[in-house]
């Protein structure tokens, strides 16, 4: 916890209404300003108490406060440092430790995730029982989407017209396992816009989950491996379609600052969100009409951590006959926040319900978002509200449908349809 | 202590003092002396004598509303502020003016007009002084746009019952240092202290003004009908309704983006027609007035001058506003309770068997109702309670002026939510109850 970064906070409170936990509970210590104050207390010598750790753990890391802050406080850096300190210094309750261990043994590993798909689906029936054992287990069961057939992407997808760029594509663990069709759509859109897309087969996790949870060493390991994978692929730009992965890859230089040689290699690798990249590149492929109403959800790690708000909206608006609707309280997190909904299930559920209410109020046909976590979280909340299955799609899928002239009816239908209530 | 000694003590202050006459009566109570101080210090000197000799004092300016409020329980000294008649400072560049309490609003307006500015109030009683304006808090048509005097007052100097001279606020428009005593004294009917001078924020005189007037022949319509009950008995019924054009015209105008400054009604006799007038101010006033015409029906027309009744209280039988027999009520309600205001008045007039004239703000829903001075006191009381019942619980009906005989039979102030706190404020400012005692709600 860098005292200099803490000092940047002038205590103006502009972050309060942007903070999901403050919105929920209205308590100073569950606001960014309050958490920075707690960090200050620790720096001044107060040991990390259960109460203090609880308030840090309750932070979703959505970074809405970073957007709201006029003083430029690096809360993102501060909370990462703080999480690392909490991991090092604080002894958690045994059940909490067990859940965290389970989550981090599972999610960053695609093969383990794949192995878990069937048991997770089965456990949905056991939801009530699991909830009693531990709310986190219940949350896990509730979130798991029905999984489509896995899609295997070739190591290289060639440009479908005159080549304008050559880029790498990060497939991600959760995206790759639970939403493979999104990666396929992303690759197609890029190819149709004139890009050679390189997809290194053994890229693994980018380290986002570990980084956002204060598991520094693990995060650095994943970062090094990801950089090496794309260097081998011979690309200098990596296109990412998962908000959380994009934001952590953009932080690689900071994450690896202490490692000789690696910082420079991290700097050399350009990371771009898909929408950011497409907007910079400019459209050449024909957009075909897509008569559908979509509500765009700002994933925190895209809107707040990467500042990417205008680009996806611009791309969606450029699709003929598509109507774009805004969701109320768009800056407030849906409660997914990486592994948050697994380790803080109660708060995540409250936020999810709040978000679902506003999403439903927007009255769109399809909910569009750029983060698999958000999609699962909001879909689960809508289900909880008794509103059945909401159609969800990634921005890439919407673009793909327009470029290929597909019917809007396919968006968010077949791949995620559930077999069980 | 004899009357003589007290008179000597007053003389000794150096303030001009004379014996009171019939014309100095305060709501029927005759004071013994009239003091004519020329400064806040002189007011303080008079108040110290009052304190030493337990004399009750009532302040007066133009005397135009001295008969408003309940009669004082006692009144020994009438403090006439006519000599505090200087406009102390008009800082045109800062849009503020400081004036002594005895300056009339007309004199003030003349002084300000020289600098192209105005106090954006339409004080409805001619001859009102700055002090009287504040003590009664009376306001006119443009309350809709600029609020009442409390909203334009930025500083005040007062003299308390013990002769303490205190000020609050200042001469800057924006100022939150300390409590705002000006607000507390506004509308306090002289029961907390005597206002010596006041500072107001000003507005530039509008480049142009235009009025749009329209008439409504029958603001309230009556329909006879029949009603049969469960037992088959048939009754004759009479239902009253607000004229539809009026009901739609008012929100159409007040909520219009054309931003009228005021919307007033004059209804001289509740069985007859009423006139509606809307004021528009600004460089493009004529253009906006023309556009407003379209919202006000077929009779609407634009005028460059206000109608003769504009910005005046309703009157009866040419008694003017200063006459002894004035009977004047104020009705305040929520803006959208227009029908309650009109129907409540219409029915109260019919039930009580009186004549009434009504004028006031359609935009802010503050109306004044005048009854003829010779109205039977019992009928006045009956009318007041009928009116209260008719305009609804959220509304407030205050009897501003009424002859003593009728005044004894009615509740002047209606519901006052925080009366206990008001008593406590009075106890602190004037523990011995020497300032206008009994003139205010709850016998304050």
């Amino acid at each position: 916890m860098d005292p200099e970064l803490i000092k940047d906070c002038v205590h103006c409170g502009f972050c309060l209404p942007a903070c999901p936990t403050y919105v929920l509970w209205g308590e100073e210590m569950d606001s960014p300003r309050g958490r920075i104050h707690l960090m200050g207390q620790h720096v001044e010598g107060t040991p990390i108490t259960d109460a203090m750790a609880g308030h840090f753990d309750a932070c979703l890391g959505c970074m809405a406060c970073v957007t709201a802050c006029p003083s430029g406080v690096r809360y993102d850096r501060l909370i990462e440092q703080t999480r690392a300190v909490v991991e090092r210094e604080h002894v958690r309750r045994p059940d909490d430790r067990a859940i965290r261990a389970l989550v981090f043994a599972l999610f960053p590993y695609r093969r383990r995730l794949r192995a878990m798909r069937l048991p997770m689906r089965l456990t949905r029936r056991l939801r009530a029982f699991l909830d009693q054992v531990h709310p986190s287990l219940g949350a896990m069961a509730e979130l798991a989407p029905a999984v489509p057939r896995s899609v295997r992407l070739p190591p290289l997808v060639r440009a479908r017209r005159r080549r304008r760029a050559r880029v790498g594509l990060l497939t991600g663990c959760v995206q790759g396992e639970f939403f493979p069709q999104v990666n396929a759509a992303t690759a197609r859109v890029l190819a149709l816009e004139g890009c050679d897309v390189v997809i290194p087969p053994r890229q693994g996790c980018c380290g986002a989950l570990s980084l956002h949870a204060g598991r520094e060493a693990e995060a650095r390991k994943f970062a090094r491996r990801t950089i090496a994978a794309f260097e081998r692929a011979g690309v200098d730009t990596v296109v990412v379609n998962a908000a959380g992965c994009g934001s952590s890859m953009k932080d690689y230089a900071d994450v690896l600052a202490g490692e000789p040689g690696w910082a420079a290699r991290a700097e050399a690798l350009r990371t771009r969100d898909l929408t950011e990249f497409l907007t910079e590149l400019g459209p050449v492929a024909e957009r075909r009409p897509l008569p559908v109403t979509v509500a765009y959800h700002d994933a925190c790690h895209l809107a707040h951590a990467q500042g990417v708000r205008a680009q996806p909206r611009e791309l969606l608006r450029a699709i003929p006959e598509l109507e774009l609707r805004e969701i109320g309280e768009s800056a407030i997190c849906c409660g997914s926040a990486g592994t948050y909904n697994l380790v803080q299930p109660e708060a995540a559920r409250e936020l999810g319900d709040r978000k679902a209410e506003r999403v439903l109020a927007a009255g769109a046909d399809v909910l569009v978002s750029a983060n698999p976590g958000c999609t699962m979280q909001i879909a689960a909340a809508v289900r909880r509200a008794g509103k059945g299955e909401i159609r969800v799609a990634h921005t890439a899928e919407v673009l793909d449908a327009s470029l290929r002239g597909l019917e809007p009816g396919i968006l968010g239908r077949s791949p995620i349809r559930r077999r069980m209530p | 202590m004899s009357e003589r000694d007290v008179g000597d003590a007053l003389e000794a202050t150096g303030v001009a003092v004379r014996a009171a006459g019939d014309e100095d009566e305060v709501a029927g109570v005759r004071p013994r002396w009239v003091a004519l101080p020329e400064s806040a210090e002189e007011i303080a000197a008079v108040m110290r004598v009052c304190a030493a000799h337990d004399l009750a004092a009532v302040a007066t300016g133009g005397g135009t509303k001295l008969h408003w409020g309940a009669p004082p329980r006692r009144c020994d000294v009438l403090v006439d502020l006519c000599c505090l008649n200087r406009v102390v400072e008009h800082a045109a560049g800062d849009l503020v003016v400081r004036a002594q309490a005895g300056v009339t609003v007309e004199a003030l307006a003349r002084a300000l007009a020289e600098g192209g500015q105005e106090l954006a109030l339409d004080v409805p009683v001619p001859g009102t002084t700055v002090g009287g304006l504040l003590a009664t808090g009376i306001a006119g048509p443009r309350r809709f746009r600029h609020g009442t005097v409390r909203d334009l007052l930025i500083g005040v100097t007062v003299v308390l019952a013990d002769g303490t001279i205190a000020k609050s606020g200042g001469k800057v428009v924006k100022n939150v240092a300390g409590y705002d005593l000006g607000k507390l004294f506004t509308g306090s009917y002289g029961t907390l202290g005597i206002i010596a001078d006041a500072t107001f924020r000003l507005h530039p005189l509008p480049a142009a003004r235009a009025w749009v007037t329209a008439t409504v022949e029958r603001p309230v319509t009556e329909t006879y009908g029949t009603w049969t009950n469960e037992d088959g008995l048939t009754f004759e019924t009479l239902t009253t309704d607000l004229d539809g054009s009026l009901a739609t015209m008012v929100p159409a105008v007040t909520e219009s983006p054309l931003e009228p400054s005021a919307m007033e009604v004059d209804w001289p006799d509740v069985s007859g027609r009423c006139t509606v007038a809307v004021l528009v101010e600004g460089a493009a006033a004529a253009e906006r007035a023309k556009a407003l015409c379209g919202l006000m029906g077929e009779t609407a027309e634009v005028a460059e001058e206000p109608p003769p009744w504009w910005g005046r209280l309703p009157e009866h039988g040419g008694t003017g506003n200063t006459g002894g027999g004035e009977i004047l009520l104020e009705v305040r309600n929520m803006p959208c309770r227009l029908a309650d205001g009109f129907l409540g008045l219409f029915e109260a007039v019919r039930e009580a068997g009186v004549r009434a004239a009504m004028r006031g703000s359609l935009a802010s829903h503050v109306f004044h109702v005048a009854l003829p001075p010779d109205t039977d006191p019992a009928l006045v009381a009956g009318f007041t309670s009928q009116l209260r019942a008719g305009v609804g619980e959220e509304a407030r009906v205050v009897v501003l002026a009424v002859p003593p005989e009728a005044g004894r039979r009615l509740d002047r102030w209606g519901h006052v939510g925080a009366l206990r706190l008001m008593h406590r404020v009075k106890e602190r400012f004037d523990p011995d109850r020497r300032l206008s005692p009994g003139r205010f709600p709850g016998g304050i």
Partner: protein
């Protein structure tokens, strides 16, 4: 066992679970509001969920003789919500329901924890808004606005909180729930309550006036080479009989900070920028705009930008509204001052501030509501340099002296709080302050509501009427005077 401990033990009985905070680490996060150089850890924090709960807590405070302080979002800049170590901090952040929106009657009823901007957001679609707009409007609470009588950039034309509140339900220091309404006859206690900085009670429900959104809004940004030229333009605009919705000015240093924080892209090389907003009917705004543009050019504006859309208007305002916090980017520490001068005295006061900067070697960034002479000098310093904080404090005080000398005020909108109580005797006489405190004594004779704020010397109210008891220990110790 102290009275506070005895009281704390009883709080759980009147509040819902989780509404009483006693953990020392948690308590400390409430040690200050937006003004961080006054700090005090509250004895206990409560988070009530309704007027009855507030009243119950206040009654307990009365029974135990324990002081209480109300706090909304904690954004105040005068330490008005500075807690008492021996008292209860009553935080209204959970009382944030919009109780009623009544468009036909142009009013909304809200709980005190509702943010200022939330009201506007709730009625914007229907063409209305809540007029007062303090720079912190996205976070500051209406309860806090009522306590401080908050203004904002647009109060030049539209007035302050006190001009837009129609009624308030308050909990008096006795623990009674009382309705103060502008409709009622009698004393304007509502007017006296608004701006009393929590010393007369706690507002638990507030009825605000909603204003019709203007037909046209034009925002213009004019860049001048010097602050003098900008000031000249302001005078000329007022003299021309134009009342803009807002006239804001920032000097070069403030521009630099805003640029660093929010990249507002104000014209390069500007010694001052003026933001003028005109609103009203189309026809009027056109007239006024022509006049204002001409005046700015005549006064030497080298660049004039006009916001053509809501987004461009937001971009112009963004620089201004974030200016305070943005100064954090160019200085390790700073003091925000809030003086007022008659507008015509602005040039003289600004020259005086320049002299102070030179004399003390302290930089001052100026941001102000030029239309009403409300200055927000930001006194910059580095707290790691020995003596600099003290010099900044002196400069800050001297600026207030300048304001008073020129017939102004020590605070235009931030309130007196704990920070400026000591300056009150420079602006008011003892008699003035005693008279104000009569109101305090009427509402709170025991002085339990936010003691130590607004007034420099605590006064004991004595019994009413007239019967005095023996000398109070505080009087004997010379710490207080008695009426």
């Amino acid at each position: 066992m102290s009275e506070l401990e005895r009281l704390t033990a009883r709080l759980a009985a009147v509040l819902p679970p989780g509404a009483v905070i006693t953990d020392p680490v948690r308590l400390r996060t409430y040690e200050c509001d937006g003004l961080t150089h006054h700090r005090a850890t509250p004895g206990v924090v409560v988070l009530p969920d309704g007027a009855e709960q507030v009243a119950a807590v206040v009654r307990l405070c009365g029974e135990h003789g324990v002081p209480f302080v109300a706090r909304g979002s904690g954004t105040g800049l005068s330490g008005g919500a500075l807690p008492r170590t021996d008292g209860v901090l009553i935080v209204t952040s959970r009382m944030r329901r919009i109780v009623e929106i009544d468009i036909p009657n142009r009013r909304a009823v809200v709980e005190p924890g509702v943010t200022n901007l939330a009201i506007t957001e709730a009625v914007r679609d229907q063409g209305y808004y809540y007029a007062p707009d303090p720079s912190s409007q996205q976070v500051c609470s209406i309860g806090g606005n009522v306590a401080e009588n908050s203004g904002g950039a647009h109060c030049l034309k539209y007035g302050f909180t006190v001009n837009h509140v129609l009624a308030a339900e308050i909990v008096t220091p006795d623990g009674d729930i009382v309705e103060l309404s502008a409709m009622d006859a009698g004393y304007d206690l509502l007017g006296a309550f608004i701006g009393s900085e929590g010393t007369l009670g706690i507002a638990t429900k507030i009825t605000v006036r909603l204003s019709r959104a203007p037909e046209a809004v034009t925002t213009l940004l004019a860049a001048f080479t010097s602050i003098e030229a900008g000031g000249h333009a302001v005078s000329a605009i007022i003299a021309a009989g134009v009342v803009p919705a807002a006239i804001e000015m920032m000097d070069a240093l403030a521009i630099e900070a805003a640029e660093a924080a929010v990249h507002c892209s104000y014209p390069a090389g500007a010694g001052a920028v003026l933001v003028v907003e005109l609103d009203g009917p189309h026809a009027e705004v056109e007239h006024q705009f022509a006049a204002v543009e001409r005046i700015c050019r005549d006064s030497g504006a080298f660049e004039i930008r006009v916001a053509a859309s809501a987004a461009e208007r937001a971009a112009i305002w963004k620089g201004r509204k974030s200016a305070f916090a943005a100064v954090g980017r160019i200085s390790p520490a700073y003091i925000v001052q809030d003086g007022v001068v008659p507008r015509t005295a602005l040039p003289r006061v600004l020259a005086g501030i320049d002299r102070l900067q030179e004399e003390f070697g302290i930089r001052v960034a100026n941001v102000f509501h030029a239309g009403d002479g409300n200055l927000h000098p930001l006194v910059l310093f580095d707290d790691s340099v020995p003596g600099e904080a003290e010099r900044a404090e002196i400069v800050s005080g001297r600026i207030l002296d300048l304001c008073i000398e020129h017939g102004g005020s020590i605070t235009g909108e931030h309130g007196v709080g704990v920070d400026k109580a000591r300056y009150m005797p420079r602006m008011f006489t003892g008699d003035d302050l005693d008279t104000m405190q009569l109101v305090r004594c009427a509402f709170d004779p025991r002085g339990l509501a936010n003691p130590g704020k607004v007034f420099p010397t605590p006064r004991l109210c004595g019994e009413v009427p007239g019967v005095r008891k023996g000398a109070h220990p505080l009087v004997e110790a010379g710490l207080a005077e008695q009426f």
